[in-house]
């Protein structure tokens, strides 16, 4: 068990900065996601924590010590890689026992520990099998088991679900989350998939080209993104973004989107000074109210271009002027391609960003 603290950590490869001045704390027992597209610096961060890369500057703390100068072996960290390598000629038992044998643990203790881990991972019935005969999910669990068996104080997972097929990924997501909680160990994983990040993690570090953009709880990253970058990279279907101008009308401020004006007076002084600037409105598909008739003064009309119904839920892509808005269709409402519909944006459920800086204003 351990707290992890990265204090102003920078990593450069030649002239290229992979990680820039990163400060982040992972609490003891916490499950944290490093999220970002390829090149965001996720893997470099994990490798520095594991001791597989040196830091260019800054400190890495694991527990109550700085580990910058400690070799990977003594950091007490287990890293599970994307392409988990199991020994093909060894049985599952031998694969799990290997890290303990290397540490010269007595045979009876090894057996006890392996059985205990196999039990937690639900692979006790597979101990005599060779990896080649297992399914993808079973192999993944064996790889996890091999990392777990020596009870490290910290787990690092590098894109743990990336190589699995869609169904298995969904299954392993829940399993990994449950496992982390039951073991209670601090764990950090990297992922390029926003749904993986929000479904598994307690907190998410959103990264963009080596820089930390937002580090917050799942709920805050989703509902109160601090930037357009976070808003548009977290959540599926993607948040709708529409550019508009902030207008001052008497004492009231309006966001003019062309096809509608949204009264933002209730935000008061927050928007002061932004008059005449380009702003970007962000609104999630389930936050737009759709109806077949005009329901309020603020609603505006659009035409349904596409309906996507997955069975569990349906979304409409609605064209308003030349803007497309994706809208969640409430259960029971029948909407077809080509229909004219009315949309309404609740002024209390909007995210507003400054276009030039990308920063959230509301």
């Amino acid at each position: 068990m351990a707290r992890v603290f990265l204090n102003h950590v920078t990593k450069k490869y030649g002239r290229q900065t992979a990680v820039e001045d990163l400060t982040i704390e992972v609490r003891d027992g916490e499950f944290v996601a490093l999220f970002g597209p390829p090149g965001a610096g996720k893997t470099s961060i994990l490798r520095m924590i594991a001791g597989l890369e040196d830091v260019t500057s800054g400190e890495i703390w694991i527990g109550d010590r700085v580990v910058n100068n400690l070799s990977p072996a003594v950091r007490d960290v287990a890293m599970v890689f994307q392409s988990f390598a199991l020994y093909p000629t060894k049985t599952v038992f031998e694969n799990l026992a290997f890290p303990l044998k290397k540490r010269k643990m007595p045979a009876n203790e090894i057996e006890k520990r392996v059985k205990e881990i196999a039990n937690i991972l639900n692979i006790s019935h597979l101990l005599d099998k060779k990896p080649g005969t297992l399914s993808g999910g079973e192999r993944q669990r064996v790889a996890l088991g091999r990392a777990m068996v020596r009870k490290p104080q910290l787990f690092l997972f590098d894109e743990p679900l990336t190589n699995l097929d869609a169904k298995l990924r969904l299954h392993m997501r829940a399993e990994l989350k449950k496992l982390q909680r039951e073991m209670g160990q601090t764990a950090i994983f990297s992922t390029p998939d926003d749904i993986e990040a929000i479904s598994m993690a307690d907190r998410i570090a959103v990264l963009d080209r080596g820089r930390l953009v937002q580090y917050d709880t799942v709920e805050n990253v989703y509902e109160r993104p601090n930037s357009l970058y976070v808003a548009s990279n977290i959540g599926s279907p993607k948040i709708n973004t529409v550019e508009g101008d902030l207008l001052l009308d008497g004492d009231n401020r309006f966001l003019d989107l062309g096809f509608t004006r949204i009264d933002l007076s209730h935000f008061g002084e927050v928007l002061k000074g932004f008059e005449g600037r380009k702003l970007v409105l962000g609104v999630r598909p389930h936050e737009i109210v759709i109806s077949q008739r005009k329901t309020s003064d603020g609603s505006f009309m659009g035409r349904v271009e596409v309906v996507e119904d997955t069975g569990a839920e349906a979304h409409a892509t609605v064209m308003v002027d030349s803007t497309y808005l994706v809208v969640l269709i409430p259960p029971g409402m029948r909407i077809n391609m080509g229909d004219e519909v009315w949309l309404y944006l609740d002024p209390n459920r909007l995210n507003i960003f400054d276009k030039s800086t990308g920063k959230a204003l509301i």
Binding site: K177, I198, S199, Y222, S236, P237, K238, H286, V306, G311
Partner: protein
């Protein structure tokens, strides 16, 4: 434009039966998906329609004409493998004109046809641009345009979106759907992704081990899967499939591993079921409602909560069974908490465990 009809088509590769006795009607102008896991026979079926494989048995008709012995280039179909298959270093115009030049069309005809196609695809303003400089969505339209210029009767698409990332796939799906609603060319689309099939197709043929399991509208596949395979394959998160045994007496019960459900109100669906018969009860995660403990059909305990932003997948343990629930809106439930599960028995799917068939 043309319909496509397969009558009892079979194909084997050596000892392996890739497609078994497949009959399928694809109406003129419709969008049909062939869906299934790898090895189910969907690509072989597409290749037989294209004429790239010859069926061992059965008949294939395109526009009413038997094409078993017609070579691919005379079948009047266009097969699109991937939307990136455009020629770099050529303009959009040249990309679109290429298939027509190969067919030795006159210059005037080519210009007319390319412009017409570009209009439909809304890429007329891009004709002079280098195809590689376009956005991915524009490139996709160019690739489709190249398939469209010669006005084929049928489009055959083999996993065209597979190599794209999730976000782009979502955009492309909508593009494709809009395009099809505009041009209405009969389209057969192969995919292993049930979400793609559900959102694109008018009808879906679900295949497994070379056998067509169900051929139906997305809505029917979702709400009335005809067997266990379809029930488990369609829908995400997957349907809960719980094994149970019928107990008949004065009243009817279903005995599960660790709990029992009264089954008198199953609308007569268990009328013919024998006492002791083994069933699988299916219920979709979105058809279960959770309330704080007390009341409900069953009592359980929250094991895992996976937030998806606007909804959450919640794993509930009932004794040793795990049931998944999809909860819309904010989740005011915590891990470890006891909860009550509610579900409408109309939403239960019942299958014979032995045959896999829906009751």
């Amino acid at each position: 434009m043309a319909d496509v009809r397969l009558v009892e088509v079979s194909k084997r590769f050596g000892k392996q039966e890739a497609v078994k006795d497949l009959s399928l009607e694809v109406p003129d102008g419709s969008f049909v998906c062939l869906l299934g896991p790898s090895g189910c026979g969907k690509t072989t079926t597409l290749r037989m329609i294209a004429g790239l494989e010859k069926p061992d048995k059965g008949e294939i008709y395109i526009g009413g004409r038997l094409v078993n012995d017609v070579p691919p280039h005379e079948r009047d179909i266009a097969m699109v493998f991937q939307f990136y298959a455009i020629y770099p270093g050529m303009t959009v115009f040249d990309n679109l004109a290429f298939p027509l030049k190969q067919r030795k069309w006159s210059k005037g005809d080519i210009v007319r046809r390319v412009k017409e196609t570009a209009e439909i695809l809304q890429i007329a303003h891009l004709l002079d641009k280098d195809a590689m400089s376009l956005t991915v969505g524009e490139k996709q339209r160019v690739a489709l345009g190249r398939a469209m210029v010669r006005d084929p009767k049928v489009f055959l698409l083999d996993e065209p979106l597979t190599n794209l990332d999730a976000r782009l796939r979502a955009v492309m799906r909508i593009e494709l759907k809009k395009l099809h609603s505009r041009i209405r060319t009969t389209t057969i689309y192969v995919t292993h992704d049930q979400l793609e099939a559900m959102t694109l197709a008018d009808r879906i043929g679900v295949m497994e081990s070379g056998v067509l399991q169900q051929y139906d509208t997305p809505s029917n596949l979702y709400h009335r899967p005809s067997n266990l395979f379809v029930a488990g394959f369609i829908g995400s998160p997957t349907m809960n499939l719980l094994e149970c045994r019928v107990r008949k007496g004065e009243k009817t019960f279903l005995d599960f591993n660790g709990f029992t459900l009264a089954a008198d109100n199953f609308n007569g669906r268990l009328r013919d079921a024998q006492d002791g018969m083994e069933l699988v009860l299916g219920v979709r995660p979105s058809d279960i409602r959770l309330e704080p403990a007390g009341g409900g059909l069953l009592q359980g305990r929250v094991e895992v909560i996976e937030s998806l932003g606007d909804k959450a997948i919640i794993d509930i343990s009932i004794d040793t069974t795990i049931v998944r629930v999809l909860n819309h809106g904010k989740t005011e439930i915590n891990v470890g908490q006891p909860v009550a599960l509610y579900a409408d028995s109309d939403k239960f799917h019942l299958f014979d465990k032995r045959t896999g068939r829906r009751l």
